[in-house]
């Protein structure tokens, strides 16, 4: 495939008088793990929400696989091949882990109220196929034991894993991860980095990660973008970005600044 997988050009998003994202350019090439970092309130999640089409940009475009998705509906994104996780885990709390992974395959199911209500032929086969795929993903993530547990009863770390599984099960080309380390401890964070790399290799993905934890992205990402106050202030390989004076200054006000590599 020629050209970048995801290309964001001159993205600007305003909320009332506040400019949350200001003329941001960003691209993700096939097979890359790209990090989007910056201090709190820099606009990182806002960019994500724009890609996912929950927010409307005031200016700029978003192209995915060459297609302009700037005005697409939020439920169409996954069909194009973009799946995401959320900062505040957005699982279907009353469902089991399996149930959530079945929801994640919504676009692969040929569901309709008449079809399902009358149990037309094909419904059972779809369901079986989806269940099998979900079971495989659960096993891959080590979640088989919690397959039939309602997710609201699971510890936060496992919930995040379920959400990751739900995103992966739709066979995306691009995975958006929103602060995957939030709420995780040191050991879990290390495991996460490995996991993401493995998933990228196994499923031939590209990944865009929003992160707050510098050490996490240093070891994981091929390239970094740094946002501050909605603007892009740096871009490049982790080693370069780490030493960029603008980046250091942006983070100087931050209480935790661990720039040691994982």
């Amino acid at each position: 495939m020629t050209g970048p997988l995801l290309e964001i050009t001159d993205l600007t998003i305003r909320f009332g008088g506040l400019v949350a994202v200001d003329g941001v350019d960003l691209r993700v090439n096939a097979g890359e793990i790209v990090g989007l970092i910056g201090p709190n309130g820099a606009g990182k999640t806002t960019v994500f929400n724009c890609i996912s089409r929950f927010y409307q940009p005031d200016r700029g475009t978003v192209h995915f696989k060459g297609r302009d998705i700037t005005r697409s509906g939020s439920h169409e994104i996954i069909r194009f091949g973009i799946a995401r996780t959320f900062q505040n885990v957005e699982l279907c709390r009353s469902m089991t882990a399996l149930g959530n992974l079945l929801v994640g395959q919504h676009v692969a199911m040929r569901s309709g109220v008449i079809r399902d209500g009358l149990r037309l032929p094909g419904v059972g086969a779809d369901e079986a196929r989806a269940t099998q795929r979900a079971d495989e993903m659960l096993e891959l993530l080590g979640l088989t034991r919690d397959r039939d547990h309602v997710v609201s009863t699971l510890p936060f770390g496992l919930q995040k894993l379920v959400e990751l599984g739900r995103a992966l099960v739709s066979d995306p080309a691009l995975l958006l991860l929103d602060e995957p380390t939030a709420g995780a401890d040191k050991q879990e964070i290390q495991g996460l980095a490995d996991l993401i790399r493995r998933m990228r290799d196994r499923f031939d993905l590209s990944v865009l990660v929003v992160e707050h934890d510098m050490s996490f992205v240093m070891g994981l990402c091929d390239r970094l973008y740094v946002l501050d106050f909605g603007r892009r202030i740096a871009e490049g390989a982790p080693a370069d970005v780490r030493n960029d004076p603008a980046v250091i200054e942006a983070y100087l006000g931050e209480p935790e600044l661990e720039v040691t590599e994982v």
Binding site: G99, V103, D116
Partner: protein, 355 residues
């Protein structure tokens, strides 16, 4: 075998229910001192309400929407069927199906503003709808019969090739209502345990997640509204022919509240719950008025009903279905049995009503 085991546990109550339905009329004829005709009429009414409750339950319990105006759809179904049979000579079956379709179409339309509204705002919008329908009926009294209503509806009948079944007696109508309920229950159960049902629940639990997973909210929310309206419409048609006549006063806000009460009492998110809630409330409302109390019956029944509602929410927030589920779990763990497994959607309604 595993399939049979999991199926068996879930469908056992329905099997029992079916058996009960078939057994009631002959039983009533045996028991002395009971007027079988009236009881069957009452049961038929309860079964008709159960149809509404099931549809409403899918909208409210599964999809997480709210409707304070479902009496409106009930009325649309009733009036559509009444007018088609009385004024245009439509056969009963066709009239019922058309009535249901009209109601479903209007339900779809009502689902559209519902896309922007939620919670109390949606409640008010649907409330307005429910209030408007009877008023519109009175306004167009020239062809709807106005406030005096429509009367003398033809008997329900079902043409089968050479001969026709006419549902003349209370017992006949009971079997009709039961048959319709059974069919619609099966359909509802299929929907709810399928991927469509899963999409509904996803919308209820997290609209954001649902959208990100590709669930088209427009399509699924309007479908939920249309489906619940379809059920209410068919039930309304059956109601009209059960009573042989209708008037706008039959379809007040209180009826809409009754429908909501049924599904809350029975347990949100459960079809069996909607069924039992409808049966329970219908019998409560009628039985309470017959309690041998010295003071004014009417007042007592109202007060007792209010107390029951409050106590249920306070102590049994998950309704009858919750009670059943807890008993089942307790029984299951008692015998160290494993709860049902593969691919079954966990029964929902996980709302705690007590702080």
């Amino acid at each position: 075998m595993h399939w049979v085991r999991t199926r068996g546990r879930a469908t056992a109550p329905y099997g029992l229910g079916l058996a009960a339905v078939l057994v009631i009329p002959p039983l009533l004829n045996i028991i002395p001192g009971v007027a079988p005709g009236y009881v069957l009429y009452l049961v038929s009414l309860a079964l008709i309400y159960a149809v509404v409750a099931i549809g409403l339950g899918i909208l409210v319990g599964h999809t997480g929407q709210i409707s304070l105006g479902h009496a409106g759809f009930f009325a649309i179904g009733a009036y559509a069927s009444a007018l088609l049979t009385l004024r245009l000579g439509f056969p009963f079956v066709v009239a019922v199906l058309v009535a249901g379709s009209v109601s479903a179409a209007i339900g779809f339309l009502l689902g559209l503003p519902a896309l922007r509204l939620s919670g109390p705002y949606l409640a008010v919008a649907t409330l307005g709808f429910g209030l408007a329908i009877p008023q519109l009926v009175v306004w167009q009294s020239s062809w709807t019969g106005g406030s005096s209503g429509l009367h003398g509806l033809p008997l329900a009948s079902l043409p089968l090739g050479a001969f026709t079944i006419v549902f003349r007696t209370d017992q006949d109508y009971y079997y009709l209502a039961a048959a319709v309920l059974i069919v619609l229950t099966i359909f509802a159960r299929n929907v709810v345990t399928s991927h469509t049902g899963r999409a509904f629940v996803a919308i209820r639990d997290s609209e954001i997640a649902a959208r990100a997973m590709g669930v088209d909210l427009v399509r699924y929310k309007t479908t939920a509204f249309a489906l619940s309206a379809l059920y209410a419409g068919i039930a309304g048609a059956l109601y009209a022919h059960l009573l042989h006549g209708i008037s706008p006063e039959d379809f007040t806000v209180l009826l809409s509240v009754d429908f909501l009460t049924m599904i809350v009492l029975g347990g949100l998110g459960s079809i069996g719950g909607a069924l039992s809630g409808a049966l329970l409330l219908t019998f409560l409302q009628n039985a309470l008025t017959r309690l041998p109390v010295v003071h004014d019956f009417k007042n007592l029944y109202i007060v007792v009903l209010g107390v029951i509602l409050i106590l249920t929410i306070a102590f049994f927030p998950q309704g009858l279905a919750g009670i059943a589920r807890n008993s089942r779990l307790r029984w299951a763990t008692r015998t160290l049995d494993r709860p049902a497994g593969a691919g079954q959607i966990v029964e929902l309604g996980e709302r705690s009503g007590v702080r």
